[in-house]
Subunit: 374 residues, 4 copies
């Protein structure tokens, strides 16, 4: 599939520019009969919505979602449900500030997609970044809200684990803490430190990078497939497709390079329910591209926003010399709002693989395995 | 596309198990008229071939490739060329040692795909790892040899930059050095140190991880596309699909998380040929998912082989307790032979995006850009 | 691609139900820089719009299209153009009559998709046929209006060539006539006869089938590809996907079965412009799945609408016995409005193949062919 | 998917030229645990094999298939089974007669793909038709042999129902007869008449067209999906992709155009097993793109082979005037051997849709339908 679609059986196609009339997505392949309301999707969108603290862009977008198709309820039905047909979701843009864009119309913000879009397409909607704006991720979060319903029992959560050079103390990880601070931070002490640090960044008109960690629990074993359908390969592609992401890890990730085989092996012992118990999860829940039943753990690095107040050397569309600085409303750390986006992408990939597994193999396999075929 | 195919216009489908009769691939969508011989493909395969030093598995496989279709030459033609039809490549397995596999038939190597394949499919070809064996990567290298010919002027090279805890000195990087040592190491001093270190690992029956870096030069600007067709997203997916890979980075990668916007911006100045010159390449040649014309730089982390001599706790297929150790021929550092594999994957993704760009946009754009459409 | 998307580089995803808030599509992969306005799309939609004569459904839908994304114009540009990003089009439903659907809620119109949707999904939006309504084809026509712009010089036209048992006189074919009667009929005499015939059908509450012919001129040679990417195979799939279509032909079609090789061969002679001239076009412009440069000719058969006034034997959802008849607004010959839909599908398939050919091969080949590669 | 692959979850990629070393396919996505031997595949290939009567080409190809991957059996297993990994099949070409091809190297057989391949690719393997040869269909038949095993209880059979102007008497249809004559003809009298007729065609060096009918019984209801994933749309595409096919029908097909809604409706009554019984099958087992549980009935028209002894006007590659006639071994009616090919394509499409349905919906639905979701 090319361009603006991802997934195979659970397929998401997104559209929309930052300052166009609307953005949205079409979710195709969602199983029928899942209860689904606009309010549930809205709840996820609200977690990503800008302007909720001083640490994100002050653009005021309600991000109100409308469902245009794919759900149905009549007077005899207890709930609105999906029908198996494509679910179209639309979010209108309402706070596009009319302003003079002549400054960025013909010059390129260093580190931004401005240049690349122009060199590829020869024309671009430069207002607010156009298609390359992080506003597009609202459509992903909306799709993710549907994806979360596809795999029974699956829970996908995310957290910010590093801002600039400041990482959390993993021993202090508390999922409850994530919703108590404006950073999705699972470590209360780190959150306090980050608030001070990010105030400095924000006031100086600078920006900074971050690292996000996503954990999916309740993932059935057996999802994924050799060789290019590997679960971790598709997770990596999905997370790298988020704006500003420059690196992706599964489980130990880059740290695995420094380990020996003895250290890296996740040992197993017979478990209570007849299924094996893993004694560690360095693999991040994926072996050979296939889920093991352990939590799936992925991390991704988000680079600092390229929209900063300090002038940087650049060129114009006509190859002239210029210096560029960006005023206006921007996230000092775009990694913060990437947390619900990362959750959405992981949920979509897992929903897709769940349906693909059910298609090829029929069902999640029971344990212990019988000797088949003989 | 699902399972065992990757790419959209330049499409590669691989097949084969470690101890089956043969493995190979079908390359579909290769442009017609490219000169191509089996010898050229063989040359790439020989770089990945096992048994070339004491630091890789001692399995003796000639990895001799045959072209079954998709090329043609008659008596009036100066060279054998591609015809635009699918190119099927087959590599026979010749050194599958017949032995008793009863030990691993019903128990799982910790950290290996054994468990995951069984829980997914209920049956697996356990001989030599079956489909999950790194032997599959020979097919990727063969496909990559064709991909290298698709983008005019493109050169894709790779190097090992870390083994276990020992990274190279990047200041000492010398591409010439890569072919002079058994590690694809661009730093002669590091290579010497690695030889000692890896001898220790090898003799103890252990294994260790590594980091590989791939650099593609001569990549035209404009390749890639929003949003799920991003060049970096597809590179990440392709590299993460290589056996044992646990992390992928583009450009600065995870280090970008600790940078400010000022530090991360790749400044630009008008260049000689009418096109802009970048003053740095923290982006790794990709902005907004689209190539900038700078070298594309990707790194990936390879975990240590799970086949080690030290017993590890595990379970049997019947959920019984067991300890597993692996005798036999294995790579102490599977990351070494991953270098040509990584090159091949990067070449395939770039070839695919080159054709997709040519399809959607028509041609690589000239610089400076004209004001279009008005 | 599955479900609700078609095309590979020029990709169309449609959504929407007959009585939901809206229907529409996302066109992904359209080349940048094509002039495009909502008015141009509207002009095509108006050709398909219901209620324009007494021979189509009296549902009053303006079918007003809005472009939500993928186009741009600023004050320096002479026209609004495509940007290469996805083009989302939305058409609101405004004339869904609120009525009691309890009759068809739990029983199935024979010959209609009611039964099949229920047995597949277990739930369906039965109002007005839901997703299976021919209203979905408005989205196709809108996408087709964009597709028509992709291939330079291509013109796609259609005509109705048979209603019920009454075929046109092919010798009387006049393209000018097509827009002069309410049937898209190229034969004035036949149109007059059809008006009488169809009045009878309409007044009796019956319906009747039809045959549509689509002709695409200016199709460059070389579009299409072996084996499942054959141009005629994808045309057949695209046309058969239109509501109520039961047969598809290319060129001579089923009549070719009765011909000998001598009769069927389209002989060739050297032409004026250096390219060969075909002396006939029994092939319908496609040989070996690849366009020859001759007009591409396709025909498809449309069955009679299943919504009729005469009661037919059926069952209820609970497997009870019932008889079904359909009151309300319906097309007595749904084949009439299928003409612009067929044109749209042919235009989309040709646009897609044009981009795919440009991607794989680079450009349409000049003639006479040089001896390549030596 | 493009070019040489078809299917989505059950995916077939074919390769190979008529006079290259081998042809074959990779079947990806086949469920694990299906008993499968090379002998079973061979049995299907033998039905399509040339040279079995005087009415097919006298090329002597054993069409011996080898399985290179994707199956496994050990000493404890009662049968060789599929493992869920890609199944590669190879058939070597052994009877490529070495001869002088200079006649067709630079001139085009009217009605053949020679011209189209040259104009598309600029180079072609002209020996025996290269990639456009009907030999490619051997790979399809091999894949179909696997597809037949995927849907429990499904039986796919085909028959030749017309040769030239001579159709069978449908009242005389006897499936047993199909294997008793060299035409796959279900009507003994017609078979006798055809033998005489085709002897005349054959001796005069001419060729003739045919119509093939495929019937799939035991197809569960619910397979297929709106809108471009319609079962009949994908059947049409698959059948039109077979060499020389120019038309495809489902159920009544083109005859439906002449029917009224009353005539065309397949009435239903409550059936014995709780499921409805259809009183007719004009729909050919598909409504709204979804299978109804009735037999799926498809027909396709095959044009006469373009290789004939009578000279036809043509051009050379250099646009010179020439006349072309074809000596050598060819099928006087290529439609005969298209019967097992059509069966294979139908089996593959149904297998794919079965897996896709299982993926999206979970399972074939029980009857009578419960009121879901409340």
């Amino acid at each position: 599939m090319s361009h603006n679609t991802f997934g195979h059986l659970f397929r998401v196609t997104t559209f929309g520019e930052s300052h166009g009339p609307a953005l949205g997505c079409v979710v195709d392949g969602c199983p029928p009969g899942l209860a689904l309301t606009a309010e549930e999707i809205q709840a996820e969108l609200d977690r990503r919505r800008p302007g909720q603290s001083r640490f994100t862009t002050q653009r005021r977008e309600p991000d109100a979602v409308k469902i245009l198709s794919g759900v149905f309820q009549d007077e005899r039905m207890a709930a609105q449900v999906t029908t198996g047909t494509p679910i179209a979701l639309v979010i209108e843009n309402v706070d596009q500030r009319s302003k003079d864009y002549s400054e960025i119309r013909d010059s390129y913000r260093p580190g931004h997609a401005d240049f690349a879009y122009d060199v590829k397409y020869g024309v671009r909607d430069y207002r607010g970044g156009g298609r390359s704006s992080a506003r597009e991720t609202a459509a992903r979060v909306a799709a993710g809200a549907i994806a979360r319903k596809v795999v029974p029992g699956m829970v996908v959560r995310g957290a910010l684990v590093q801002i600039g050079p400041h990482a959390i103390d993993r021993a202090a990880w508390d999922w409850e803490e994530v919703s108590r601070n404006p950073f999705f931070c699972p470590d209360a002490k780190a959150a306090a430190l980050w608030a001070d640090y990010l105030d400095g960044i924000r006031k100086s008109g600078s920006s900074v990078g971050a690292v996000v960690e996503i954990v999916a629990e309740g993932v059935p074993p057996g999802l994924g497939a050799p060789i290019y359908g590997k679960l971790d390969a598709e997770l990596a592609g999905a997370l790298m497709s988020i704006n500003a992401v420059k690196g992706v890890e599964i489980g130990e990730g880059f740290a695995a390079a420094a380990l020996t085989g003895e250290e890296n092996a996740d040992e197993m012992r017979p478990g209570n329910a007849g299924a094996p118990t893993f004694l560690s999860n360095r693999a991040g829940g994926v072996l050979g591209g296939i889920s093991t039943g352990q939590p799936v753990v992925a991390r991704f690095a988000v680079k600092p926003t390229s929209s900063i107040l300090t002038p940087r050397a650049s060129v114009t569309r006509q190859n002239g010399e210029t210096d560029v600085l960006t005023k206006g409303r921007h996230d000092p750390c775009v990694g913060i709002r990437a947390v619900p986006v990362g959750e959405a992408m992981v949920a979509c990939v897992l929903a897709d693989h769940y349906l693909r597994h059910r298609g090829q193999v029929g069902a999640v396999r029971d344990w212990p395995l019988e000797r088949p075929f003989g």
